[in-house]
C-alpha cells in the first residue's frame, strides 16, 4: 500500500503557507502523505528513513547553507526538489531546484506542477497490465522457487534483466508476495492448479 503513495516533505516555517499548500494537495487526485520538517537536518533524517518522492523547500532556509543543501540534493537525486517561492530570489539559488511554485500560483497551476513531477516518477512501460511472455516465464520460475541467479542461468539472461522483470511484474500486478503471485498465476490460468 505504501508503493503508490506519494510522500512529500515540506520545509516551510510558516504555518499558514504550510496548511494552505497541504490543502491544495488534498484536492489533488493523487494519494499522498505530507511530512513537515523544520530544518535541513531534520529533512536529511527524514529522507534516510522514508521513501520521499517530492521535497518542497522555502529557499530562504537554504541561503546560508548551500553546501549542506547541495550535498543533500546530490545524495537524493531521484527526489523532485521544488522551491516554494514568495519573495524575490537570486536565479542562481532557484536553479538548484527542478521547479518552483510561487505563492501567487493558482490552485490549478500548483496542482499541475505537482502532478507533473508524479508522472515523471512512475515508469512508463508499466502502464499496461498484461505481462509480457518473458515476464510470464520469470514469474513461473519465481513460483517454482528459483533464485534470481538460477532464473538468469535457466533463461539465459543477466541477473539485472531478471530483477527488472520482477520489478515490472510487481508494478503490473500490484502483487508483491510469492504466495500472492501464485494465486495470480492460477487465476490468470498461467499456471495449472496441480502445480501449487
Amino acid at each position: 500500500m505504501s508503493s503508490d503513495r506519494i510522500n512529500i516533505a515540506i520545509l516551510e516555517p510558516s504555518d499558514i503557507i504550510n496548511e494552505g499548500f497541504t490543502n491544495i494537495l488534498l484536492k489533488n487526485e493523487c494519494y499522498f502523505f505530507v511530512f513537515r520538517v523544520y530544518s535541513l537536518d531534520e529533512l536529511s533524517l527524514l529522507c534516510s528513513k522514508e521513501q520521499i518522492n517530492i521535497v518542497v523547500v522555502n529557499p530562504q532556509l537554504i541561503i546560508n547553507k548551500s553546501h549542506e543543501f547541495t550535498r543533500l540534493r546530490r545524495s537524493y537525486n531521484h527526489i523532485n526538489w521544488i522551491a516554494l517561492v514568495y519573495s524575490i530570489y537570486d536565479n542562481e539559488l532557484l536553479s538548484r531546484f527542478q521547479s518552483t511554485i510561487s505563492i501567487t500560483d493558482s490552485f490549478e497551476i500548483v496542482s499541475n506542477k505537482i502532478s507533473q513531477t508524479i508522472v515523471r516518477n512512475t515508469s512508463s512501460d508499466a502502464t499496461q497490465e498484461e505481462l509480457s511472455e518473458r515476464e510470464i516465464e520469470v514469474l513461473m520460475q519465481l513460483i517454482n522457487g528459483l533464485s534470481n541467479k538460477e532464473i538468469a542461468d535457466k533463461l539465459n539472461i543477466s541477473i539485472h534483466t531478471v530483477i527488472s522483470h520482477r520489478k515490472n511484474i510487481i508494478e503490473k500486478t500490484g502483487i508483491k508476495s510469492l504466495p500472492g503471485l501464485t494465486i495470480y498465476a492460477i487465476s490468470k490460468k498461467i499456471m495449472q492448479l496441480g502445480a501449487e
Binding site: M1, S2, S3, N23, L26, Y31, F32, F33, F35, E129, T173, G174, I175, K176, S177, P179, G180, T182, I183, Y184, I186, S187, K188, L193
Partner: protein, 238 residues
C-alpha cells in the same frame, strides 16, 4: 487512508463531534477500554473521568485522524504501560474480532460461488494470519516483557533477544500481504455476483488493515523512540 481532512484534535474538542467525524475513534476508545456513550464531554473531561493521560489521547487520536506526532508530543507521553495495554487490546481485536469475521465472509463466498479463486484466497489469508499470530506472539513473549522489565528495573537493560529490526521487518511483511490480498480481490480474481458479501469482506479487510497500520505506527513512531530514550539514559547511568 491518510488522505483525510479531519480535525486536529485538542483537549477542548467535543467527543461526539469527534466520533461523528471519524467513527474509527470508537475503536480507539475500545482499545483504551472507554465506553462510547461519551455524553457531551470534551476530550480532557473524558480523559480525566477515565484516568487516561490527555497527552496520550491527543497523540493517538490525531494519529487516527491522519496527523503524525512530533517529537515534543511523543515525549509528552509518560505512561508506557498504557501504550502496551493498548497494543495488547489490538491483538485481542485481531484474533477475536477481525479474523473470525473475515474467515466467515470468505467461507460464505466459497459456499455461494464454489469459485476456485476463493479457496486460494482462504488459504492465503489463513497463512497470512498465522504470520500475524507469530508476530503478535513475539510481541507478547519477547518485546513487551522486555519493555516492562526496562521500565521497572532501575539498573541497566536486561539481556534479551529483542530486536528493533525484526520488529519493523514483521510489520512490512504484514502490510505487503494484506495489500496483495486487496489487489487480488480488486484486480485479478473474478467472482460473479455476491456483491454484498464481497463488499463486507473488503470492508473487514480495510478495517483490519487500518488497525494494523495504527498498531505498527504506534509501536514504531511512539513506543520504540520512548524505549530507546530509556535505554540511553540507563546506559548513561552506568
Amino acid at each position: 487512508m491518510y488522505r483525510t481532512q479531519k480535525t486536529y484534535i485538542t483537549a477542548g474538542t467535543r467527543m461526539p463531534e469527534l466520533i461523528k467525524e471519524n467513527p474509527r475513534i470508537l475503536l480507539l476508545l475500545e482499545h483504551l477500554e472507554v465506553d462510547f456513550v461519551v455524553g457531551d464531554s470534551t476530550v480532557s473531561q473524558l480523559c480525566s473521568a477515565n484516568s487516561i493521560p490527555v497527552e496520550l489521547f491527543l497523540v493517538f487520536g490525531n494519529l487516527y485522524n491522519g496527523f503524525f506526532p512530533d517529537r515534543k508530543e511523543i515525549r509528552s507521553i509518560k505512561d508506557i504501560r498504557l501504550i502496551i495495554r493498548f497494543l495488547k487490546s489490538n491483538h485481542h481485536y485481531y484474533i477475536n474480532d477481525k479474523y473470525p469475521e473475515i474467515i466467515g465472509y470468505i467461507r460464505e463466498l466459497q459456499d455461494l460461488t464454489k469459485n476456485e479463486g476463493v479457496r486460494l484466497i482462504k488459504k492465503f489469508f489463513q497463512e497470512y494470519f498465522n504470520e500475524v499470530l507469530e508476530h503478535l506472539d513475539y510481541e507478547d513473549k519477547t518485546a513487551f516483557p522486555y519493555f516492562i522489565e526496562l521500565i521497572e528495573s532501575r539498573k541497566t537493560a536486561p539481556k534479551t533477544n529483542f530486536s528493533v529490526n525484526d520488529y519493523q521487518e514483521h510489520h512490512t511483511d504484514v502490510e505487503t500481504k494484506l495489500g496483495d490480498l486487496k489487489n487480488l480481490l480488486l484486480k485479478h480474481i473474478h467472482i460473479t455476483n455476491e456483491l454484498s458479501t464481497r463488499r463486507k469482506l473488503f470492508f473487514a479487510l480495510m478495517e483490519l488493515e487500518f488497525d494494523l497500520k495504527m498498531h505498527s505506527l504506534i509501536e514504531e513512531t511512539i513506543l520504540l523512540p520512548l524505549i530507546a530514550e530509556i535505554e540511553k539514559s540507563r546506559m548513561n547511568e552506568q
